[in-house]
Symmetry: C2
Subunit: 281 residues, 2 copies
């Protein structure tokens, strides 16, 4: 997939899972630019500095990435253009294979997701949290023997580390959903499997408001794949609802349900119709 000659942002530093997704989507030769945080990457697209960005939006264990949802709802006017689900495969990376491991560095979530496996393989090893999986790999590359990092294949390649153990995550159901964001909505005539995401605020003071919204989907047999509430930021009890559905704006029933939901909402935002891509690695 071409990046139209323009830069694509991702959640950095180099060696993160976000970079692996960006390479999977846009190819190894794409002009990829790391950003220090998710909202900086999103704002760079909104400001025209880059053409697209790749950000995580949901993890199967930790749940939604709130900063992604909140920034899309409150801060910028962007559209989701693609979605890809990456199986998270944690690897243990060290400078040499065969050494004892006394200290394991990684992002706190990655450490938590490998805790049982690590305590079986290296019961005496200390687990120490750092800012990112890539940062962990960098420190191990510069550190002394006996240190290891939990990280991606990209991080191993980037910092010339050996894979001491692959797939060390405790559960096999750990995957993360990433999306690409851009200023223009995707051309809805493209072939493929489509999804659409919207966010709306409904009148919480009227009983059954959400029920009436969901009825619009049920009547048209539009399948909702996700419903998530987030604070409207106007006080407790006021919520925004993020709704994901199967189908794209190229279909009349999706156009109809979006119009009906908008009429029932205090506030409504179309986050775009987008293609579901398969992870191929």
């Amino acid at each position: 997939m071409a990046a139209n000659g323009k830069r694509v942002g991702f959640l950095g530093p180099p060696g993160t899972y976000s970079e692996e997704v960006a390479k999977n989507l846009f190819g190894e030769s794409a002009c990829l630019t790391p950003f220090g945080s998710i909202d900086l990457a999103i704002r760079a697209v909104a400001g025209g500095e880059i053409s697209q960005c790749v950000v995580p939006i949901e993890n199967s264990v930790e749940g939604s990435v709130n900063v992604t949802l909140d920034t899309l709802a409150h801060e910028v006017e962007l559209f989701i253009s693609r979605e890809i689900v990456m199986p998270i495969r944690h690897n243990l990376l060290a400078r040499e294979v065969g050494r004892d491991i006394r200290l394991v560095l990684s992002h706190p979530q990655a450490l938590a997701q490998c805790r049982r496996t690590l305590s079986r393989l290296y019961p005496a090893a200390e687990l120490r949290p750092v800012d990112s999986t890539a940062e962990a790999a960098r420190r191990v590359a510069e550190g002394e023997a006996g240190m290891a990092a939990i990280g991606s294949r990209s991080a191993a390649a980037l910092y010339s580390l050996e894979m001491v153990a692959a797939d060390i995550q405790d559960t096999s159901s750990n995957c993360t959903r990433f999306v690409t964001l851009q200023i223009q909505p995707l051309d809805s005539r493209l072939p493929g499997r489509w999804k659409t995401s919207i966010v709306c605020q409904i009148d919480g003071s009227r009983p059954g408001s959400l029920y009436h919204i969901l009825a619009e989907f049920a009547e048209r047999e539009v399948n909702l794949t996700k419903i998530e509430s987030r604070p409207a930021r106007t006080g407790l009890g006021a919520y925004l609802f993020f709704l994901d559905m199967e189908g794209g704006l190229g279909e009349a029933r999706i156009q109809a349900v979006l119009q009906a939901v908008e009429q029932r909402s205090l506030w409504f935002k179309n986050l775009g119709s987008y293609l579901m891509l398969d992870w191929n690695r």
Copy 2:
């Protein structure tokens, strides 16, 4: 309200907002015990080490406290017994009034919630994140002049600090919902305003499953005050739904709706009927 002579846990260290809530609920003379994390406090109730705990469950800006929801759903069998909403009032605390402030310490969320006010009052001050608002107050008490902490009134009292400025939060709509948890459900004959919380997993592969659940509430005119999805932890697309409703198990319509929802769910858990208390300070 008596704590039945047994200990009440809260999210520590001493001087946090959780402690202020615990004092408000159980009185200054209650035997309050700080815990290092939310899940440790909750597990101490489940293990019988303490009789109740006070933990945050939702903030009007940041959203649900995921660790509280996930621990209640997945890890323990406990009931919510009381709910109280605390207006979060951030104060600037220092050793002396009238000195220039060059460094402000606090929990990252508190710093974020006061950023605009601080940049107006002390444009040159550096903001530095620490583990908790109470930890910030402790460091200011032991540190040099020119340092300040964002924290609660309790923290000011505990560390003998002066209130340099009160109510420095950027928005007035910032409040946090706290709940008390205990092993036995609350006696549903108690007078007062009741709410009930449940968590259920529905069959996401059948379109309209959530719609049919919500219909059970709409038919009985039971008002939902909150609906929140969290990962079921069995893979992407499988969710638990946390539902809060007005009314308690003392009412026949609440008993009926819970029974109907349980029958429609793959998995169901009653998190308890509880009293809504007013914040009185």
